[in-house]
């Protein structure tokens, strides 16, 4: 590991004062019988961020989310919400959209929303006012007296989203929020999530859709087999996983000579990217060398049409980490 990476690693894990974090999970262990669902997991979720909680199925994400929601208790470890140890009153500060979600089928939309809002500690009057606001915003006022069973799945999901954000929680937890939405509604919900972030809410976002992680998340954490493997700012994590590999395109008369020169110094692989030229397309890992040296070598041998650092995608990091461990 290069010194910069080591230093980066240290800064990532340096203790930061709690007031900057809405949620701090420290050393949480959760066991179900002989099975360990969470093995000494610690996380820090900065205020006002969108925090991607990633991991394969069965990694322990849902167990962690259920602990944060006080549905279950950790066997050991602490959870701090906004500077205070987690306690029943915090239920009102959290909005939770579970992956397995549904509504009472035979209950009317309006009544049901009022009920669920009141369960979150809102007064009936407040709940009604907030519901009117959201129903108008999402243009669903005509659904008020319909039963859930008369609505489509996507429509019901919208209602669940509204119920989840209605009480203006400080911390929102979305578990696969986009599943079941068509692209138009998924976009609508995405915009609402960004809007909530602008208004100061913190969002924990658990998903398998890596493109939405790339798009939305400021921070990510990866949980695999009950352990946290990665945590940090998305860019920092990517930096940590950079491989000093460059994707290049060169138009050259003498391909063999260029390849010979490159393979002398670097590790070279074939690659393919979209281009209008018929150039030589390569992936070059430069190790400890500088990009400038690579670039001048290329310039001496032809016309450079493409030169970019290969940045690991969240998807790459995910797959790499999960398959390695």
């Amino acid at each position: 590991m290069r010194p910069t990476v080591v230093m980066l690693f240290l800064t990532l894990h340096k203790y930061q004062p709690s007031m900057e974090h809405i949620l701090e999970v420290s050393d949480v262990v959760k066991k179900y019988g002989d099975y360990t669902a969470l093995n000494h997991v610690s996380l820090s979720v900065p205020k006002g961020s969108i925090y991607g909680l990633l991991g394969p199925n069965g990694a322990g994400k849902t167990s962690l989310i259920r602990i944060i929601n006080q549905i279950t208790m950790p066997d050991s470890g602490r959870v701090i919400l906004d500077g205070e140890p987690l306690q029943p009153k915090h239920i009102q500060s959290i909005g939770y959209l579970p992956e397995e979600r549904g509504l009472y089928k035979t209950m009317k939309v309006g009544e049901q929303c009022l009920y669920l809002a009141q369960l979150k500690g809102m007064s009936k009057k407040d709940a009604k006012a907030q519901l009117d606001f959201w129903f108008e915003k999402l243009e669903i006022t005509s659904w008020w007296n319909k039963k859930i069973q008369e609505l489509s799945k996507g429509m019901a999901q919208k209602i669940q989203f509204v119920v989840c954000v209605l009480h203006k929680p400080k911390l929102l937890i979305f578990d696969e929020p986009f599943s079941g939405f068509d692209p138009v509604n998924a976009n609508l919900i995405k915009d609402e999530i960004l809007e909530l972030k602008r208004q100061g809410s913190t969002i924990i976002f658990s998903t398998h859709r890596m493109e939405s992680v790339e798009e939305l998340c400021d921070y990510i954490a990866l949980i695999h087999k009950s352990n946290k493997l990665i945590e940090g700012k998305l860019d920092d994590v990517k930096r940590q996983y950079r491989t000093a590999t460059y994707r290049i395109g060169v138009l050259t008369q003498n391909t063999e000579q260029l390849l010979y020169q490159l393979t002398q110094k670097y590790t070279v692989a074939q690659t393919h990217f979209k281009s209008l030229n018929q150039e030589l397309q390569l992936e070059v890992a430069i190790g400890n060398d500088t990009p400038n040296n690579l670039l001048s070598l290329l310039l001496n041998n032809g016309m450079v049409t493409h030169f970019e650092e290969k940045i690991p995608s969240v998807n790459d990091i995910f797959i790499q980490t999960v398959t390695q461990n």
Binding site: R66, N69, T72, L119
Partner: protein, 433 residues
């Protein structure tokens, strides 16, 4: 507390608005009244008159046979048995009694025959046997030179007078009243538990299949949700019972007005019959016996056993609902719950009636799972207060234990999807924190 109230309110409204609840509430009393009317009508119908041919050439019995509303005896001693049997086959007669033409009582006793196409009514045969044996016994006495009059005089007619140790008079009919009142209350509790326990279970399963459960328990404790469900459902149940009672009484009144002539007629006959057999002082005694029952104890303990028993069992139902994904899977787990209930009713109706203070009745009236039914059946017979208190304390202690236990299963179960758990797994759930 206010969250619990919200849950109770929602559960209550959801139950009451349910179509099947409304239909059941208003249809059941109607069905009940219709059945009662049909039974009443059938009971008041006169049975068909049956003609019995009697072939009794020696006139052993014919003269003593009395025609009744149901049976008319025709002397056919002049015809041969063969002809008579044919006439039974062709249904000219409903039956044929053939008494051997002899004076030997032994032969008569053993060779008397009865022919019929269908199997003979047991009641008739017993009656005929009684009459014959009485007649033959009298003949035997005479033949042996025994003075039948003296025997009749010597016969002692015993009727033991029942008195309580405190010295008051009591009567035999009072036992019946106690059985009816105790049994009625016990049976009511069992019905309520089975009907509304099932409703609780169904509503838990519904939340699981709707997938709303996780949204709800991110706001409230599973224990609150479970308790709210049980209370809300029981309130809906009490409302339904209340409506049934009011509707039942109204409908019965209307029905008796409509069928006034017939029911009035039978009632009149019954009243006449009663007046013939029972003197007014006996009726007064019966009424006094009702008032003599520990009414306050019965009512207070009914309420206590009702609450304790219902909550105990519906916690079981809630836990089962949480453990399974659909109702079909619940059967295997329901059996051990329904068994003690049925056992309670059986013990109540067989053992308590014979021996209200015997070991079996006493033990099962203290064991918590059967006590709500068995003790309620025993109380009208007078139970030492320490037994009642012990049984209620045990019931509520068990209730607290079971609710705690059920809440643990409930908490884990509601978040488990997909597979039917085994008993072993369910026990394991209770060990999770």
């Amino acid at each position: 507390m206010s969250l619990l109230k919200l849950i109770i309110k929602r559960e209550f409204i959801a139950k009451v608005r349910n179509k099947s609840f409304i239909v059941m509430t208003f249809l059941s009393p109607l069905i009940f009244v219709v059945i009662a009317a049909v039974v009443g009508y059938l009971a008041s119908m006169k049975a068909d008159l049956r003609r019995i041919a009697v072939h009794d050439p020696a006139n052993v019995i014919f003269n003593t046979l009395k025609n009744t509303e149901e049976y008319r005896y025709v002397n056919t001693s002049g015809l041969s048995v063969g002809v008579l049997r044919d006439s039974v086959k062709t249904e000219k007669f409903d039956g044929l009694l053939v008494v051997p033409a002899t004076t030997k009582t032994n032969e008569i006793a053993q060779k008397t025959q009865y022919y019929s196409n269908e199997s003979a009514p047991l009641e008739l045969i017993l009656d005929l046997e009684d009459q014959l044996s009485e007649k033959l016994t009298a003949q035997n006495y005479q033949a042996a030179g025994i003075d039948t009059l003296a025997i009749n005089k010597a016969q002692a007619d015993v009727s033991i007078q029942l008195k309580k140790s405190s010295g008051e008079d009591t009567i035999k009919g009072a036992s019946l009243i106690r059985i009816v009142i105790g049994g009625g209350f016990g049976y009511l509790i069992m019905m309520f538990i089975i009907i509304y326990g099932n409703l609780v279970m169904r509503s838990v399963i519904e939340e699981k299949t709707n997938r709303i459960i996780e949204i709800i328990i991110s706001s409230v404790k599973p224990f609150q949700l479970m308790l709210g469900k049980i209370i809300g459902t029981s309130l809906a149940g009490l409302l339904q019972f209340g409506i049934w009672i009011v509707l039942g009484i109204t409908l019965l009144t209307v029905a008796s007005a409509v069928f006034g002539i017939e029911t009035g007629g039978t009632a009149g006959i019954a009243a006449n019959a009663a007046a013939e057999q029972v003197d007014p002082s006996r009726i007064q005694q019966l009424l006094a016996a009702v008032w003599d029952l520990p009414i306050a104890t019965i009512l207070i303990s009914f309420v206590l056993y009702f609450i304790g028993g219902y909550f105990l069992y519906s916690s079981f139902y809630a836990a089962i609902g949480a453990a399974v994904d659909n109702e079909t899977d619940s059967q295997q787990f329901l059996l051990p719950i329904i068994m003690p209930l049925v056992l309670g009713v059986y013990i109540g109706f067989f053992t308590v009636i014979n021996d209200p203070h015997g070991t079996v009745a006493t033990v099962f009236s203290i064991v918590p799972l059967t006590s709500p039914i068995v003790m309620l059946m025993r109380i009208p017979f007078g139970v030492p207060i320490w037994q009642v208190i012990l049984s209620i304390v045990l019931l509520f202690a068990t209730f607290v234990l079971v609710v705690w236990f059920a809440a643990k299963i409930y908490r884990v179960g509601i978040l488990m999807y997909g597979k039917k758990p085994t008993w072993k797994e369910i026990i394991k759930w209770t060990k999770y924190d």
